[in-house]
C-alpha cells in the first residue's frame, strides 16, 4: 500500500470522490489528524496515511447521517487508540491492511437510539461481542456520563427481538461496518 509518501489532500479528494473543503473541515475540527504531515503554514501541506483514508470514509458517512462532529471524533479516537494498543503486541499491525486481509474480523460501530455509542467485534458469521455503551458527549467539556458497561457490554436481548441489534435499540439505530469501509477503499497496492 502507498503509505510511505502518503496521499495529498487532492489525491484523497479524488480517491474518496469528496470535495476538498469537506476533508479540510474534518482536519480543522481535529476529527481526522494527518498521520504523515500536517499543514503548518505556507508551503506545507497535509499528507495522509491509509488509516486516515479509512477515518475520512467513516467520518464522511457519519456526517451524512448527521451525527455531531464530537461523536465522530470520539469514534475515530477510539479506533486510533485501538490500533495503537494492538501495536503494543504487534508493532507491524495496520488496521487497514488487517481488515482488507483474506479473513478479516467484522468490526462495526453502532449508535443506539441516537444517544449511545457501541463497538462490535467478531468473526464473520458469528455473534459479535459488544463494547461500550457510552452516552454521547453533550456539547460541553466534561461530558461523559456513561450509563452502560465499560468494556464488553452485554447484548440486550429484551429489545433486540422487537427492533433489532445486539445493542438493544428501541426506535432507531445506526450500524456502520468499519471492515466493509476498509475493504471498499480504492487503494493501489
Amino acid at each position: 500500500m502507498k503509505d510511505i509518501g502518503g496521499w495529498t489532500l487532492a489525491e484523497v479528494s479524488r480517491l474518496l470522490r469528496e470535495p476538498q473543503h469537506r476533508l479540510i473541515y474534518l482536519c480543522e475540527k481535529k476529527v481526522v489528524l494527518p498521520d504523515l504531515a500536517d499543514a503548518r503554514g505556507r508551503g506545507s501541506s497535509r499528507r495522509f496515511s491509509s488509516r486516515n483514508l479509512l477515518e475520512f470514509s467513516i467520518a464522511l458517512r457519519m456526517r451524512r447521517l448527521e451525527l455531531p462532529v464530537a461523536v465522530v471524533a470520539a469514534m475515530l479516537h477510539t479506533l486510533r487508540h485501538f490500533e495503537d494498543s494492538v501495536r503494543r503486541s504487534d508493532p507491524n499491525f495496520d488496521i487497514v491492511r488487517s481488515l482488507r486481509g483474506p479473513s478479516p474480523l467484522d468490526m462495526r460501530i453502532l449508535v443506539k437510539d441516537g444517544e449511545r455509542l457501541f463497538f462490535s467485534l467478531g468473526k464473520r458469521g458469528s455473534a459479535p461481542k459488544l463494547f461500550g455503551g457510552m452516552d454521547f458527549p453533550r456539547g460541553v467539556r466534561g461530558i461523559g456520563r456513561n450509563s452502560g458497561d465499560i468494556g464488553a457490554a452485554q447484548p440486550t436481548s429484551k429489545h433486540s427481538k422487537a427492533f433489532g441489534g445486539p445493542e438493544g435499540s428501541r426506535q432507531a439505530r445506526i450500524e456502520v461496518s468499519v471492515t466493509e469501509i476498509a475493504r471498499s477503499l480504492e487503494l493501489k497496492e
Binding site: 499491525f93 491492511r97 467485534l121 461523559g144 476498509a182
Partner: protein, 66 residues
C-alpha cells in the same frame, strides 16, 4: 472620484461556528479503555487455536486489491 454607497454596508463580523467540544479527559479515558478491550479481543480472535501467535494480525499485503 469617489462614490459613496447608497446604503451603509453591513459590518463584516466574522461569524464562526463554535468549535466542537473537546473530548474531556474523562471521556477520553473511557474511550481508551474501550479501545484497549477491543484490542484484546481482536488479538484473541486472530490467535490460532493451537495457541501460536497469529500470522495474520498485520494482514496480508496482497489482500483486498481494488
Amino acid at each position: 472620484m469617489t462614490h459613496s454607497l447608497p446604503f451603509k454596508p453591513r459590518q463584516q463580523t466574522a461569524r464562526r461556528r463554535p468549535a466542537p467540544p473537546d473530548l474531556s479527559p474523562e471521556f477520553r479515558a473511557l474511550l481508551d479503555h474501550i479501545a484497549e478491550e477491543l484490542a484484546i479481543e481482536y488479538l484473541r480472535l486472530l490467535r490460532p487455536e493451537d495457541g501460536k501467535p497469529a500470522d495474520s494480525v498485520s494482514g496480508s499485503k496482497s489482500g483486498g486489491t481494488r
